[in-house]
Assembly symmetry: none
Homo-oligomer: 192 residues x 4
């Protein structure tokens, strides 16, 4: 296997600029942001953009991958706090859900883009980091007796894949309040 030559410094810089610009543009104008606009925002020519990402789908996938990486970081931090005893697992899990939704609100178009273009997550490593951390949170919560026994990582994914990212904050909070009882073992309390 010919070891991939170490990428040139400027190529790395360009890749970063492109990803940043793509994220911004897609956030701002939705998935219909043009490749030319993204290239311009990144300060490169389209050709360069296409050298790094052979397809628009690939570019979006990369943007999504970055987003996944951030989510994984967040989940791991939450798990660490639980391990420290700083916070309860249930609290951390719902707070995590809240934060992810918050982010989706900003990056909503990214999600839309991902779905629209059928972008496949490219970075399985980060996905697995995220899954592992969330699984840890769930197990801890179950051990505490706070989280229902049959909840899985997929349930969490299912929930935040359906979060109302495009709604105003009030609606997003309300949604979280409606949805969390499904995770816990206790009955609903009067809402926030």
């Amino acid at each position: 296997m010919t070891q991939a030559r170490a990428p040139r410094a400027d190529a790395v810089r360009n890749r970063k600029k492109i990803l940043t610009a793509a994220s911004e543009q897609i956030t701002a104008h939705g998935p219909e942001a043009g490749m030319d606009e993204i290239a311009a925002a990144a300060g490169v020519a389209v050709g360069t953009l296409y050298r790094h990402f052979p397809t628009k789908t690939d570019l979006v996938a990369a943007v999504v991958a970055e987003y996944v990486a951030r989510v994984a970081d967040d989940a791991e931090a939450a798990l660490a706090r639980v391990a420290d005893g700083t916070a309860s697992a249930l609290e951390e899990l719902t707070a995590f859900l809240g934060r992810v939704i918050e982010q989706s609100a900003t990056d909503r178009a990214v999600k839309a883009a991902a779905q629209t273009l059928g972008a496949q997550p490219g970075d399985h490593a980060d996905e697995e980091r995220a899954s592992a951390a969330v699984a840890g949170l769930i197990r801890a919560g179950q051990a505490d007796g706070d989280i229902h026994a049959d909840i899985t990582v997929n349930d969490i994914y299912l929930l935040f894949s359906t979060a109302p990212a495009d709604q105003p904050p009030a609606a997003r909070n309300r949604w979280l309040a409606l949805v969390t009882p499904g995770l816990t073992i206790q009955a609903r309390r009067t809402a926030s």
Copy 2:
């Protein structure tokens, strides 16, 4: 008062064909289904399509309106069964949610289209019929002591606007199971 002349038979036929075709095409290929394709699927020329719906947005709005009408019918039927004593309000409400989700699975793209294009619901009458019926179900469930006191029609809308329409049936059922506890007053039981 010049009573609007009765619409021509073939025009009515065409309108129906167009709506059907539009629903199918949008379901199949998403909101980016082309007007030409829809027209072809309806067996008419584009011009005809544009005579009936001056804008793509209008067409989508009409498709959505039909969908809303069906939902309203469904909700009213559910309310009627509760009034009969045939079924409990909570059961009917969750069953209703389930059915709406099921339908969205087929028409998922329609919903996406509506959002994408900013289509405004054209038929407020149907929308209000649906809201009234759902409100009735909620009140009945609250009277039974089954539904939490602060649940409103908007909560129901919020939930099914976020239903995972594009997921396989198993995921959709699971989602329903996760979400319903938020509506009820009781604690979660071990899931299905």
Copy 3:
């Protein structure tokens, strides 16, 4: 030759309504006025419009023909006044030119339409009435010694076919002042 059946009263009425509407619409929106708009303005359906004028070109030609008839009336009146001794031929001729330009200003789009669509004047009778009257004016002016001997009807046509109909009144008057010396006898050198 089967004598053309006398046209029905309502058909005549419709023809008139259509011509009026067409003139108005074309004046208002230029030659790109749509057939549907013209029909609507006339209070008939497109089909009716097409029964009277098989082609847009034909319709425009008819509108132009009406205009020609009005011009012919004007020219004949001018000639009559000269015959009466009420006014001098040169004065009447320039006044006539001025009036025609004035009208063109309103109906400018009609002229544009005529050219754009290559409409051929349909009503030779009126054209000849106009030509005869103008020729009379010219002859009278030449007899008076006011109008140059080589001026012909075609010269007059040539001039007002190039009148600046779309210019403000000041420009139109200036144009007339620039152009009239070419008609008179004084100082004209024999034309090239």
Copy 4:
């Protein structure tokens, strides 16, 4: 200051081809010449055409601008000949008018297009060059005692904006003969 990189050779070539083709097509088929036809005539794809001229209006404006530049060159040359003493100002002015009309005969549709599309002349520099040169000719002719004292550049514009470009050469010459007396000093009566 980032000096605009020198345009690529092929881009320049294409721009020229497009302008030529556009001029020809618009001349031949009027302003309704399709963008596709123009592109085909230029031997490029539509996209290229739109890269150079973002709008049909822009394209037409560019074509008109070229025409204005040619007129300005012509007027300046005429003025230069007068300054040399090679020719009289009046002769040069009428000859200039004649040449412009001749040209308009070819480019007539361009002028129509410009008006139809409300194209704004893009190159004021050329316009002013032309105006300055014509003003020079007028002043020289007035100094010679050949041109009437109240003639201005606007008069010249007014005349050739109404030149019968679409008429056969004989008519165009006749028109010029009819119109020139208005410019000269002999026999002109004080204007209206």
